[in-house]
């Protein structure tokens, strides 16, 4: 499963969009990353990298993020 682009992940993190069909881990991690970036916008690139690493390690997360 191809991974989403960093720009697509940035847009997702900075939006209020819900991932209603995604696995619980993906939804919770997205929620946490959004909070961290809201608290410190300078973390955005690091959090995108963290999210990509999570998707690389978990096929279900790559599936969840395939169509964002």
């Amino acid at each position: 499963m191809p991974l989403p682009s960093p720009n697509a992940l940035k847009a997702l993190i900075q939006s209020d969009r819900n991932l209603d069909g995604a696995k619980l881990a993906t939804r919770i991690l997205l929620g946490r990353v959004r909070i961290e970036v809201r608290n410190d916008p300078a973390l955005l690139d690091a959090k995108v990298a963290e999210f990509l690493a999570f998707a690389r390690a978990n096929a279900f997360a790559a599936d969840d993020l395939a169509n964002i």
Binding site: L19, L24, G31, R34
Partner: protein, 328 residues
Amino acid sequence: MKNELLSVEDAAARIVSGAVMTIAGDEALLAQLPKGQWIGGTSVYFVTETGGAVIRDRLYCTTLPEATKADIRVLEASDLPRIAEGYAPGGMSFILIPAFSTAHSVFAVDGPSYTGFFNQPLVGWISGVHLDDIGRVAPKVFDGTTGAAHDNAAVLMHLTLEAGLIPQVDIVNIFEQNDADAPCFRFTQSGFEAQTALIDGVETPLADYLQENGIDTRLPLIANYGGALINVSVQSVDAQSGKVAFYAPVMQNVDYRFAKPLADYAQAFAKQLGAGGDTQYSCNCILNYLYGDLEGKSTGGFTGPVTFGEIAYMLLNQTLVRLELQPA
């Protein structure tokens, strides 16, 4: 996966046969079990097929023939950041933590930031005691490999699963967040208590606000994590000190809104859960049991311990956690 209420003798026989199990029950019963591949936590409240009940003469046992290997670890609060080190490839992990312990509070606040934490399903609950025993008896967790009970450490069971099985964990939250025009609560610090909150952006004494506005504190505060609704329940409101205590930590700079009221608690569960719970692992919150007056009321086919907090990756309140092992 098989869920059963068993006598001590039957549970012991199952353990001796080599089964991998998670067990919930009264401390006096758990203490009688032989050593083996099991973990346990104290609870006397259960949801059974016929409804909620206090059970002290049997143990709620989940047997996991799908597990090909079980590694059991006991982690004190300072070692909790090492949770993911025990994850088996393609597997899943159970975690039980005693209520009111340092491990409980540390896990609740810091858990989701641990390295690799989300890389496989982590499911479990906070062990408790009969409500009449709070403050007199400490909740415990048991490491079946030694038979030892712990009141200030987490016990984990990392499972390797048969090939072709995928663990699916999800939550059932019968509550909905209030509408977007309802007051929004933010907190300036993460923690189990708060004296003030930013309510619609204005710093406000929280206890005063809850009392003056007649807020029903049986309803949880809800945050939206990317579409997952995460509850935090109010434990107490102390008008004198101005402190509001919570059963799970409120998190800094997260937007919370109170839940909409429910017409019928038990029916809300039955409606959302549907059928098929007999082959799933589940646990439900003591606050649902109490506020929903669930004793004797059926909530559908999902049975299991009633707990002092549920864990689906993070600590949850007023939520049912469910785990299913699905074919790939």
